[in-house]
Amino acid sequence: MGFDRLTKGFSGLRVLKEGLTGNKGWTPHWRDPAPKPEYDIIIIGGGGHGLATAHYLASQHGITNVAVLEKGYLGGGNVGRNTTIVRANYMLPGNSEFYSHSLKLWEGLEQDLNYNVMHSQRGIINLFHSDGQRDGFARRGNQMIAQGDDAILLDRAGVQRELPYLDFDQTRFPIYGGLYHKRGGTARHDAVAWGFARSADSRGVDLIQQCEVTGIDIENGAVRGVQTTRGPIRAKKVGMVVAGRSSQVAAMAGMRLPIESHILQAFVTEGLKPCIDHVITYGMGHFYISQSDKGGLVFGGDLDMYSSYASRGNLPTAEHVVEAAMTLMPVIGKARMLRSWGGIMDMTPDGSPVIDRTHIDGLYVNCGWCYGGFKATPASGHTFAHLLATDTPHPVAKALRLDRFRTGRGILDEEASGSQHNLH
């Protein structure tokens, strides 16, 4: 179902027309419907992944009798709190084809949604600081090329050409080089949520906000619907897509998940003239940074490293992140920090996600995105919609199984640190 781009959708012509006629023709992006008594499919969670699932259910599978139930407002969760890095630099089979697929969906997303998500392939440079790390990144780069994506191994002079403002001779971690992934970059996180929401709504999906799921109805091993703060709603299938609150919602179905919820913080400075062209990651210092299109330097680091459901972090991690920033690029000391915030991360023991059925008929789970689920948003929605619609896993997501933690087969541990909570 295409948009009439001149009268309803977005286009240069439309902007011109509205500009000349007093901008009176713009309408809300989506309706505000009351819940119906029953749907074919209910998606719990109106974050990026839930909204993307709804979009692909409607656009790829023609399933539109769907509701997305969101306890707060659309995009108020992690999709609106992340640092917006989009990349396909995973290494293990199972992850690599999934994120590769996701990046290809990103590259066509704005046309698919008729929405400007400000996807910017400005390139990502992962710095390394030792010979051993160089070998590791060379191997990762080769795997990325083998999976059909791009990677260039930069030596020190190569990094100096791209990022002349870094301190290359810091006493602890002098910079040896970097792995440059040119198709990586950023996107405007809110716009991603809004674009998927608008598309799903325009195809007939009901997006229901201020509607918290408080129970999951199960009879004889099959799901029948959900209880919500806006009354009971029946459904043939239910997908749980609630990121940091996955354990809480799964418990409504009597399930325990391989998940610990942790807090991850992010920080932004006042708006500055363009100065950082890429996304830079400084793994040794637990620090990464990019510059938003508004000019703010957006940066973050590691988890606070304790279980938390508070959407805010503590000072020790903030201090650590800022110290790492000053070590890598002392120039940042001139910038004033405006804000910091946190989001609740659904951490799995092996650091990789889950897109799968559950042992309950009609109940599906999409969770375990850790701190890297924003880049996954299109592929997560695409493959979860496929699973919900066809009851078979999508080929690029078939490794993201829930039972890998019981059988030990197919553990997806990118960092090779072991499948154990608090190691990723």
């Binding site: 354990s247 809480q248 418990a251 325990r256 998940l257 391989p258 998940i259 610990e260 919820s261 490293m305 304790y306 279980s307 938390s308 459901y309 508070a310 503590n314 020790p316 023991p349 933690f405 019981r406 059988t407 499948s419 154990q420 909570h421 608090n422």
Partner: protein, 87 residues
Amino acid sequence: MRLPCPICGDRDRREFYYQGAAVALSRPAPDADAAAWEDYVHLRENQPGDLDELWSHDAGCGAWLVVTRNTVTHAVSGAKLASEATR
């Protein structure tokens, strides 16, 4: 955030290493079945609210503690030595 070490008193969070939910206190028998080990190694209650967790006072006395902490407010309501914690 400060944690009340029974040996050292209230100490800054930076002095402690976090191990996670205090499941290590009920390790399954070596010959327990796969479900018991999945439960122990991977599955977690992970609900908002009070949680018993294991912290090590690394930069202090070195003791392992069982700390009861609220995961929504971060308020700590108790701490005892792991060696004295009952199962």
